[in-house]
């Protein structure tokens, strides 16, 4: 079991284990887990061991080592890697190898992390259960009859199953936080623009953001230090200094911090009693640590999901136009005699049902005569939603609420009911629409023993504040130290 990046670093520094031994342990754990959980789409034992060897050699030679030296990490299969396929869990990109590394991958390599493989996801990150993957479903390590959530279900399950201490996910409407909640791990969606999107295969460009998944806030801080920062290749990345996030996790004293509770959201229909209980419990813990708790409201909350489900598919319909069979990816066979037939067949065969649904919704929402009614109206509502956040953060330092309406649901329960699946995003899409950072933390268990997540949200670029409160919460609770039974 490899469950803490900080521990892996300590073991190597103390000479208790080499990077190669750690990599081998990770690869053995992956092999054992894969047949049960199917968290990975691609694993490369040889290259992981080879890069671990290089790190051991550097250490032996006394050369300077990166911040993640010898730490095994799994990355969601939506991030471009030049030495592994990048498929987005789609038939369309089965076997596709990009000629370049995403910026975050370059940064991981520069930090001497050991990339063990690519993790399973909903196709093109569209879904909340990892059931739309073309590479089979991923199972929740806490209960294999249940979903790990999605779309970063593989990345969250890979950590929860103890195969790696860290993984990278992406979050467009909750895709890091919801699976983290379902899998009992800690997941951070940074501020939009905090982490470069260069090399992240786009789903909805104005909402997508890359972030860390780990057992603890402390490990998330470690990974944030490596991946955050301005990059000229992403025009939407923010040219702002990057603090040392690990410093934020040193104090547990929350005195002077005002935390707003999204009380209204707890009254929402369909919310599980165990979720309400966990949030109430978290309020108590944070108050005990010194935080002042007040009630706040984000008045346009009921428009979050409809707004999101216009903007995200609109952008997706455009972003996914490039998969036409002409240049790379899946192309329909010989029978396609003309260009239009080739396009239609390639896309019909290459994309799954959920991706097609969203392309159609988005195409419709951007069409002449409908754009004003849908896309342009959604942009206006998005501005109102941002305004709500600005108003709330003028009163409080952080927002506290649930991540999901229920704990992990059964595999197959919602996969044929898109509306039910979309409602999984009820509490998470606000942070994406507003561009603010948010974190999901283990906050308890339901009576069946399934993990429950609680969510903290902070103003733009206040990841340190989030990690400070999260780390303090974890110093006072032991939910993040619980492990699923093997």
């Amino acid at each position: 079991m490899l469950d803490s990046a900080l521990e892996v670093l300590r073991m190597q520094a103390a000479g208790e284990a080499s990077a190669v031994e750690i990599a081998e342990r990770a690869m053995d754990a992956i092999e054992a887990s894969q047949t049960v959980h199917n968290a990975y789409t691609h694993v490369d034992r040889e290259s992981a061991i080879a890069s671990a060897k290089t790190i051991d050699a550097k250490r032996a030679a006394g050369e300077p080592l990166g911040a993640l030296a010898g730490v095994p990490i799994a990355v969601k299969d939506v991030l471009c890697t030049s030495d592994m396929p990048t498929t987005c869990s789609s038939e369309m990109l089965r076997g596709f190898r990009p000629p370049y590394d995403a910026t975050v991958i370059e940064k991981l390599r520069a930090a001497d992390a050991v990339i063990v493989g690519k993790t399973n996801m909903d196709e093109f990150a569209m879904g909340a259960s990892t059931e739309t993957s073309a590479f089979g479903i991923t199972k929740n390590p806490w209960d294999t009859t249940r979903t790990p959530g999605g779309s970063s279900g593989g990345a969250a399950a890979a950590v929860a199953a103890g195969t790696v201490p860290l993984s990278l996910g992406t979050d467009t409407g909750g895709s890091i936080r919801q699976p983290s909640a379902f899998c009992g791990v800690t997941g951070l969606k940074p501020t939009y623009g905090r982490v470069s999107r260069y090399g992240l295969v786009a789903f909805a460009s104005s909402l997508d953001q890359i972030g860390p998944i780990a057992w603890s806030a402390d490990d998330c801080a470690l990974l944030m230090n490596v991946i955050a920062g301005f990059e000229p290749r992403d025009s939407t990345s923010l040219d702002q200094p990057v603090p040392d996030y690990t410093l934020a996790t040193e104090s547990n004293d929350l005195r002077g911090m005002r935390i707003g509770v999204l009380r209204e959201s707890l009254q929402a229909e369909g919310i599980d009693e165990s979720i309400r209980t966990a949030v109430s419990h978290a309020i108590g813990v944070l108050a005990e640590l010194g935080a002042e708790i007040v009630d706040v409201d984000l008045p346009h909350r009921e428009y979050w999901v409809p707004t999101y489900y216009v903007i995200a598919p609109s952008e997706a319909s455009s972003n996914l136009s490039r998969y036409d069979g002409a240049h790379y990816g899946h192309r329909a066979g010989e029978e396609a005699k003309d260009l239009v037939t080739m396009y239609c067949r390639s896309r019909a065969e290459g994309f799954g049902a959920e991706v097609k649904r969203r392309i159609m919704v988005g195409t419709y929402a951007l069409s002449e005569g409908y754009a004003d009614e849908y896309y342009n109206k959604a942009l206006k509502v998005r501005r109102l939603i941002r305004g709500d956040y600005d108003a709330a953060f003028s009163q409080v330092d952080l927002l506290l609420g649930p991540v999901t309406p229920t704990p992990a649901f059964k595999l197959g329960d919602k996969v044929d009911d898109p509306i039910q699946m979309y409602l999984c995003d009820l509490f998470t899409v606000g942070a994406n629409l507003a561009g603010v950072p948010a974190i999901s933390l283990p906050g308890g268990f339901d009576p069946a023993g399934l993990p429950i997540g609680i969510q903290l949200q902070a103003p733009t670029l206040e990841e340190s504040r989030l990690l400070f409160a999260a780390s303090a919460f974890q110093s006072a609770t032991d939910y993040h130290t619980q492990r699923p039974k093997q």
Binding site: L79, C80, T86, C88, L93, F96, P98, P99, Y100, A102, R197, Y198, G199, L200, V201, A202, A204, S205, S206, P232, R233, D234, S235, T236, S314, E315, S317, S318, L320, S321, R322, D324, A326, H327, Y328, L339, V340, Y343, T363, L366, S367, E368, A371, Y375
Partner: protein
């Protein structure tokens, strides 16, 4: 033919390729003519995960162009995606500008082709930036239907300049294009080479027919694929005839048939209907989420305006008044672009003889550039050297022929004027030496002496050739003077 009175309505959309070293959204070269798919990267190939980054130089050039055609440069401009499927468009959308173009509401004044004393003012609706697509090459030889795609051009910056439908004849359209090209090349905004595709024209044309006081508009035709200005004019003239005939035959109007796209066949000299692009009906424009809107501060616009310098007309007028050269000569120099004007200015200053400099530039300099296939910026004879050379000619130190030898020597071997003069063995011949040479020749040519004495001064000419045969540095003017003086004294 009893034709009803008609008015031709013409509007032009001109794409000029901006003269940037790299593409609009990535660092790939924009060089023309490289092997297919050698100037590409993940960004211009539209690979998954790649993101565009704006080329600041393109913004600069677009503003320059916009100011020169009297456009407003609004403080905010943004990027939009124009979506359609085509194999030479690898992202499935083109990054362009929809509702907030970088330049808006300008005009271009042309001389009325029907009245040289009148000015026609052609409105410009907008000029916006966009990325170019690649090139599809359809190889249907031998029954194969292979299509090949070259993406080198993909992502090259274009400025699309859209005129108001203010032109009424093909000649006006031609005058507009010539003027626009002159401004863009003069400002260094674009090469405007139609053969290389760095200037492309789409013409929109229809007729307003006056049928006994009732105005009938024929369907608008957009003509594409014209590869020269001459063809644009020919296509417009053709459309005027064709649309009238079509209306007489079918009665189609803009209400019944709207707008159509035609191509131009420059072999048969006819227009022909083109198949519309897939889904051209709805491009589903929306703001590109990968690029931030651009704020263009007033100060930046004013800075660029201040750097524009004089317009081609102003330059033409100045060259005529400052150097006393003819309108035609000024026009030739200005049409070569700003670099040539600067070269001429510097050379004429140094030579102190504008007319001589103008004629040398139009003959020797332009011919040599053509032979060397180079441009004035990298030409081996600097403006100062040419000026110095011509000042020597003016002072009578060098003959035109010898000056040409020096010019050729410098342009081929480099080095200075003095070095070339030395290398060619040119030296001034002193007067006493010259006098004895002429005496010698007069003694040997008594017939010349007689002819001159009988009033035929031209007879001296035959001595000049002989003198230069004996000493190539002999100055013909000097020989003539000395010979006449000696004969007169004899």
């Amino acid at each position: 033919m009893s034709q009803l009175p008609t008015t031709t309505i013409i509007g032009l959309e001109v794409h000029v390729q901006l003269k940037t070293a790299t593409k609009l959204f990535c660092g790939c070269s924009t060089k023309f003519g490289s092997p297919p798919n050698t100037q590409v990267c993940p960004v211009c190939l539209g690979l998954p995960g790649a993101l565009p980054v704006i080329n600041e130089h393109a913004i600069e050039l677009a503003i320059r162009a916009g100011l020169a055609i009297r456009c407003d440069i609004p403080p905010l401009t943004k990027w939009d995606r124009k979506q359609y499927f085509y194999p030479d468009l690898p992202k499935g959308y083109q990054i362009s500008q929809f509702d907030l173009p970088i330049c808006a509401d300008g005009c271009l004044e042309i001389t009325d082709p029907a009245d040289p004393d009148a000015i026609r003012r052609i409105g410009i609706i907008r000029a916006h930036l966009e990325e170019d697509a690649g090139k599809s090459m359809h190889d249907e030889a031998a029954g194969r239907a292979d299509s090949r795609i070259d993406l080198n051009r993909c992502g090259t910056p274009l400025l699309e300049i859209v005129s108001e439908p203010d032109m009424r004849t093909a000649d006006e359209a031609l005058a507009y294009l010539i003027k626009l090209k002159e401004i863009m090349t003069h400002l260094g905004v674009s090469d405007c080479e139609m053969q290389e595709g760095s200037l492309r024209v789409d013409a929109n044309v229809n007729l307003h027919i006056d049928k006994h006081g009732q105005r009938i508009a024929t369907p608008i035709v957009e003509v594409k694929n014209m590869n020269s200005f001459r063809n644009v004019a020919a296509a417009l003239d053709y459309e005027v005839e064709r649309q009238y005939a079509e209306w007489e035959e079918t009665g189609h109007t803009i209400q019944t048939h709207g707008k159509r796209t035609f191509g131009w066949d420059d072999v048969k000299c006819v227009t022909y209907p083109q198949r519309e692009k897939e889904e051209s009906a709805d491009y589903r424009y929306f703001p590109c989420p990968d690029l931030l809107p651009i704020r263009i501060p007033r100060e930046r616009v004013e800075q660029i305006r201040a750097s524009l310098g004089e317009t081609p007309e102003e330059t033409r007028e100045r060259l005529q008044s400052q150097y006393g050269i003819k309108a035609y000569d000024a026009d030739v120099i200005v049409s070569q672009g700003r670099a040539m004007v600067e070269y001429f200015d510097a050379a004429a200053m140094a030579s102190g003889d504008g007319k001589r400099t103008s004629s040398w530039i139009q003959q020797d300099v332009m011919r040599t550039l053509k032979e060397q296939g180079s441009d004035i910026e990298s030409f081996g004879v600097s403006a100062e050297q040419l000026g110095k050379l011509l000042s020597k000619v003016k002072a009578g130190e060098l003959t035109n022929d010898r000056a040409r030898d020096v010019f050729k020597h410098v342009s081929e071997n480099g080095g200075g004027i003095e070095d070339a003069i030395k290398a060619l063995g040119i030296e001034a011949v002193d007067d006493s030496e010259m006098e004895s040479l002429v005496k010698e020749l007069l003694a040997a040519n008594p017939k010349v002496v007689d002819d001159v004495k009988n009033g035929n001064q031209k007879a001296v000419g035959s001595l000049i050739g002989q003198a230069r045969g004996k000493n190539p540095n002999a100055n013909p003017q000097k020989i003539r003077e000395i010979a006449l003086r000696l004969i007169d004294q004899a």
